[in-house]
Symmetry: C2
């Protein structure tokens, strides 16, 4: 393809993206695709072609075969998982970045990539209210993009393990302990299996809204220390995946003053974006995060208007990462790196090459401004309030945990009058709700996901697509209510009749 | 930004990318930017704006402030590191992929993303001549994208460690050993520090062209086994970074029949792409790779025409990865995953969310066809032959290792007649060549990188940009010769005069 062919294909791509978003904002297609596992393989040849093909044919096949298999994360009725960040500014940032394809692993390999990342993550850090200690401009702390929140947590754990081993060289890996809560994202357990280290998941209770409390942490640390084990890091969560729970960082702050060797990583993958609004900072323990977090991570590619991926990790002391991750063979040495006048971000993460993500975040931050971000966050929180009101007014549904920002977790919990028996035992309620979710999950016009909260099967509704409006939440509630009624009718038929 | 504003900004972006490539192919600007460390910070505000800005202003600032700080990896005179993959098809793939921003961690989260990846990596696997065991269609083995070759190797090591620990549960992590050669990319050592495991880098010699030999491996394994240590994986390299050395997989194949517990990961990050040409398969030990490799990785984002990043990892047995990396909390369960009818790629790598990269590789494979890939590889190899001939004709320069595909490593090694002394000792030669590289590296019109081969300081010249032509290699040689002469003159002035 030559430059003029690219211009033509590029215009066409832009036009088709516009067509797609016009159709999407008008809900002209459902959120979930109507394809079965394995649909694509019979539609494509089994090998690459011998000779190159004309791009117009490739673009046609894309429209015809690939688009039909998408789950539409930007669809107004996408209420599953957490939202995926999106903005037109983000696409443009990705486009310009892709056009200069480079793996900016050190300053010299593309100075503006490193410099822009350093500046833009300072902008982001300030916008979220993080302490000045986390700024790249501080020369001590700083932030850089990781691939995902999982890898950000992994990097934090590796840094903490390295720091601990440096202070206690005889420690066996087998005796080292990572702490999470039972509600921590699977990134905690996954980091454990990746590193071959043991993770202790601390219990949290429904009464505490699934938040990790200081006393629970203190007991565990004391117990493990007595056993001769070596606690070295806690992964605290701001906004868990199941219910949006927020670990009590204020209490944790008090506890860890007695355990100076333990590092704190704060995983705010989803809810961290709410820190852009002053009114949510207290519930997210921002002050305590700023006081004790060794590292903090949030995903602009979730609730932050930025196309996947864009996950910064900030640290209070960049040496924390570099001491653990700097390997510099001769072929990677540069005059600027040797002189120490630049940041070589490859020493801050797992891989060597790194995507050029700062450009899209720069575009997004400038395009929306702080006010635009605040508006985006508040809109989703307000839409969740609408949903919560609707659930409260229902005699069939109830929340399984307090709503958290733009996330609600609910289930069918019918009043006895709606069933021909007194009350349902917990096991039966779970079966009933699995049936309920089974009905919802085969629909293509709405997408919600399931979870389990301390044994209770429930359904999550997470708001955040830029295209979701009040009407879509009300429609979703109607669908949920409709399927709930049908579930109860089916259930009723399954039950033995009363006298 | 609304849809029509996006259309306008999108067209503008396409046009500007066209302008950029017209200028680049005519070498209208140098390969390296003329900026100093810290150039950008004073040019940008210290915080994100409060209100959103108009995109036309943002796009202007991009052109004015950011482009000037790029190292131009696609420039015809970019001869540093290894090339970064690029094609217009690749940009278009990134653009369409970015437009549906999604983190396709499981099948349901976007069926076509998973299915296309599964199919396209089969196309790629066949194109490179890998064994049918590595095909996703086999239902047993398969391939998926990792972030970089470093992370592919890391994943392979984690899988091998997990398999070894499953077979030998009492093994202490402290006693486990990873094997590499001293020429293995820093990804080996980095994986060691990440995982807290010891890496033993085996010596290779100049006489063996820096290739790992079977006897060296056998002695090390026997020695370590005698010490009670646990060898569990070898990272073998096809095309090392310093000199393009190829480990002797045929000999390694014989050795490992006696050590059935040791897994083999083949890192062919750069040179693997040469497997597309039948004539390079024997020198890359393809037959032996197909016989013994547990995993194999190469970067389409290096020599493979695909914009960063696109690094597949293939395994002979997908359980190898899944056993090590599958963590499935309730909120990630799906009907299709539970039924086992789909691949959930999140269980094949470190993170959870994953970029949608199959689209661009599909575009590139179709746009170029197998013949287009072969032409691209052969062109770079042929250009390297031109460079090698020029070096051979020089009485100042000599190669430090045999040329490997599209990579040459050279240094000044002057004939005694060109200096006022008999011969130079090795230390002085190194000093001379550092001076030489110092001169080359301050130029902006050509970009080469340094390395050290068994103590010998040398300069690498790696060819692979789609825009590099014969004339650019000849120009590069002229620049090198010019700087070499000036280096020798300066050196001559520094030396004590002869009698």
């Amino acid at each position: 393809m030559n430059i003029e062919q690219f211009r033509k294909a590029g215009y066409q791509a832009i036009d088709r993206i516009c067509d797609y978003y016009y159709a999407l904002q008008d809900s002209k297609f459902p959120v979930l695709p109507d394809v079965e596992p394995g649909y694509l393989r019979p539609l494509l040849p089994s090998s690459a072609p011998e000779s190159g093909e004309d791009f117009s044919q490739i673009a046609e096949d894309y429209q015809k075969l690939i688009v039909k298999g998408y789950t539409h994360w930007q669809h107004p009725s996408f209420l599953a998982y957490f939202p995926a960040g999106f903005s037109f500014e983000g696409i443009l940032g990705d486009l310009y970045a892709s056009s200069v394809s480079n793996p900016g692993f050190n300053w010299l390999s593309s100075p503006s990539c490193t410099e822009l990342e350093s500046i833009v993550l300072d902008w982001a850090s300030k916008m979220l209210g993080l302490s000045g200690s986390f700024l790249n401009a501080s020369g001590v702390g700083g932030g850089c993009f990781q691939n995902t929140a999982s890898e950000a947590a992994l990097v934090a754990i590796i840094a903490a393990r390295t720091a601990y081993k440096a202070a206690h060289p005889d420690t066996k890996l087998e005796d080292m302990r990572i702490y999470t809560s039972t509600q921590t994202h699977s990134l905690g357990l996954k980091a454990g299996v990746i590193l071959g280290l043991t993770v202790r998941a601390l219990e949290v209770t429904r009464e505490d809204n699934f938040s990790l409390r200081g006393d629970t942490l203190r007991s565990a640390l004391e117990e493990d220390k007595k056993k001769g084990l070596h606690p070295f890091i806690l992964i605290a969560t701001i906004g868990t995946t199941s219910s949006g729970a927020v670990d009590n960082i204020a209490e944790i702050r008090t506890v860890v003053t007695d355990f100076p060797d333990i590092k704190i990583h704060v995983d705010a993958a989803w809810a961290g974006m709410a820190l852009v609004c002053p009114e949510f900072r207290e519930m997210c323990y921002l002050k305590d995060i700023n006081a004790i977090a060794d590292s903090f991570s949030t995903n602009f590619h979730k609730w932050g208007l930025t196309n996947f991926d864009a996950c910064p990790l900030w640290v209070r002391d960049r040496k924390y990462l570099i001491d653990a991750l700097d390997i510099t063979p001769p072929f990677l040495r540069t005059a600027q790196g040797d002189a120490g006048t630049v940041i070589d971000y490859r020493n801050w993460h797992l891989g060597l090459g790194r995507r050029y993500r700062s450009l899209k975040l720069w575009f997004v931050l400038r395009g929306y401004g702080v006010e635009g971000f605040q508006k985006h966050i508040r809109k989703a929180v307000d839409l969740n309030k609408v949903f919560v009101e609707l659930v409260s007014s229902s005699d069939m549904l109830s929340l399984c945990a307090p709503p958290s920002l733009a996330l609600s977790v609910f289930r069918i919990n019918p009043k006895p009058s709606t069933l021909n028996q007194a009350t349902l035992p917990e096991d039966a309620l779970n079966d009933l709700n699995k049936l309920f979710y089974g009905r919802i999950s085969v629909r293509k016009d709405i997408f919600l996901t399931q979870t389990v909260l301390n044994g209770q099967f429930c359904i999550r509704l997470a708001i955040g697509s830029a295209f979701t409006q009040d009407v879509h939440i009300r429609e979703a509630f109607e669908v949920i209510t409709h399927e709930g009624k049908l579930t109860l009718e089916a259930w009723d038929r399954l039950l033995p009749r009363g006298p």
